[in-house]
């Protein structure tokens, strides 16, 4: 591939224009989203590019931490949309995503897989946090809809003298499984159905495929850990919000 510069990006914008025209011709109501999304992606990514350049140059631990914190807050807010307002969704997802990402990152540092350098921490955090966010969001969704649909089942258990945990355990486990489906499918098909982003990027940038694969394996295991931790904590904290101290289902 030719070295990528602003000219190549503008040329690639022709592809976005093609998508726009197709949508317009077929009157699919997404033209606005396409136009807005393309421009938004451009501005967002260029801004992030400059911010990262800045952070990488400074190598300040404070800045790295701040960047990770911002990512976590935005991800928590996004995941929190998937749980009713009354269930303290932001606090729940903030705890879950922070735990999943920080534990995973710290373990990678302790195991000597990475060092405290912006070029490791920032991109890996991005992957970790966005995957953790999706796992948590799916678990929230599942708990909300399952408990609502199975109120009678839950209250039958409670009426038979079971505590809230026993009454909801089935839905707790299903929610965790649902939150992890995506990362589990990823591990199953990685390299066969899709070349993941990190690997594609490295190969495009000229790294040898074997090096790219090794990094991808590290990334895969890392994501598995982060998603599992975040999804379990999300489900655990979310499901508690549906019960009170008197073992009553509060909807």
């Amino acid at each position: 591939m030719i070295e990528t510069g602003y000219f190549q990006v503008l040329a690639a914008a022709a592809l976005a224009a093609l998508a726009f025209i197709l949508a317009k011709v077929k009157s699919i109501p997404v033209e606005k989203d396409i136009a807005f999304g393309s421009v938004r992606a451009f501005i967002q990514l260029i801004a992030v590019g400059y911010a990262l350049e800045f952070i990488f140059k400074l190598e300040s631990l404070w800045l790295i931490t701040l960047a990770v914190a911002i990512m976590i807050v935005v991800a928590s807010y996004t995941a929190s949309q998937r749980l009713p307002k009354s269930k303290r969704p932001f606090a729940v997802s903030l705890i879950a995503i922070t735990a999943g990402s920080v534990i995973t990152l710290v373990l990678m540092l302790l195991l000597g897989i990475i060092t405290v350098e912006a070029r490791y921490i920032i991109p890996l955090s991005g992957m970790i946090i966005s995957n953790a966010m999706n796992g948590g969001a799916v678990a929230f969704d599942r708990i909300g809809s399952d408990l609502k649909a199975n109120r009678l089942a839950v209250e039958t258990s409670l009426a038979l003298g079971k505590n809230w945990r026993e009454a909801s355990n089935r839905f707790y486990r299903m929610a965790i499984k649902a939150g992890m489906i995506s990362i589990l499918n990823f591990l199953k098909t990685v390299g066969i159905v899709a070349l993941p982003g990190a690997m594609t990027g490295m190969i495009l940038a000229g790294a040898s495929p074997l090096d790219a694969v090794l990094i991808q394996l590290v990334v895969g295991y890392m994501l598995l850990s982060a998603v599992t931790i975040t999804t379990i904590i999300s489900a655990e904290l979310a499901i508690r919000q549906y019960f009170n101290k008197a073992e009553q289902f509060t909807g």
């Binding site: 039958t156 038979l160 009553q248």
Partner: protein, 243 residues
Amino acid sequence: MSCQNEIILKVDNVHRAVKKNGTTVNTVDGISYTFNKGTIYNIVGPSGAGKSSFLRLLNRLDDPTLGEIYFHEKLITLYPPTELRKKISMLFQTPYLFEGTVRENLKYCCQHDDKTIAEILSRVGLKPEFADKQAEDISGGERQRVALARALLLNPVILLLDEPTASLDPTLSQSIERLILELTKNFCLTTIIVTHDPDQARRLGGNTLLLVAGRLIESGPTDIVLNNPTTDSARRYLNRELI
């Protein structure tokens, strides 16, 4: 019948408010009543009167927004909820069976042995082989009886039944009624049963509580409440709905 002199449950000025289309309504509106041991209580009243809502307060599936409930002269909030619900067992208006066999459903609370399970099945008019049926393959009436059996296996002191014979034919209904009468007599069980059928209330005897719009408007011995109601709204309801 000496056990009947003992007070088992006391409900004192109990309210339950819920939000309905933005406004707050009392589905249970200031009910006070004393229940004795070994007695049957029929709860009657029009649809939406708050009968089910009232039952849910007694085993703490919900808490009153105002008022107190005492079980054995102790506030029900002082018992661990899981223990209270085993002593005050409830059969829902639309019973739910868990996925799996009838046996698994009956073992759900306390892992009873197969002999006990066969026994309880026969008491609700089902054959022992019935235990191996899949819960999703049985009829509405069978479902109701399995759920009743499951509630009885908790060995409760008070049994809360929300229209337990609604989907049963007259013969089966009456066999369930006989079972309730027998448990009341032999084990001094207290039964609080919601029913739409005045004849059922008469057959069960005991006392009857008439609820209208969340209020207890009439209560006393079943015959008196059903035949000589004292209030106008009770008479109206009994003429239109029950008789």
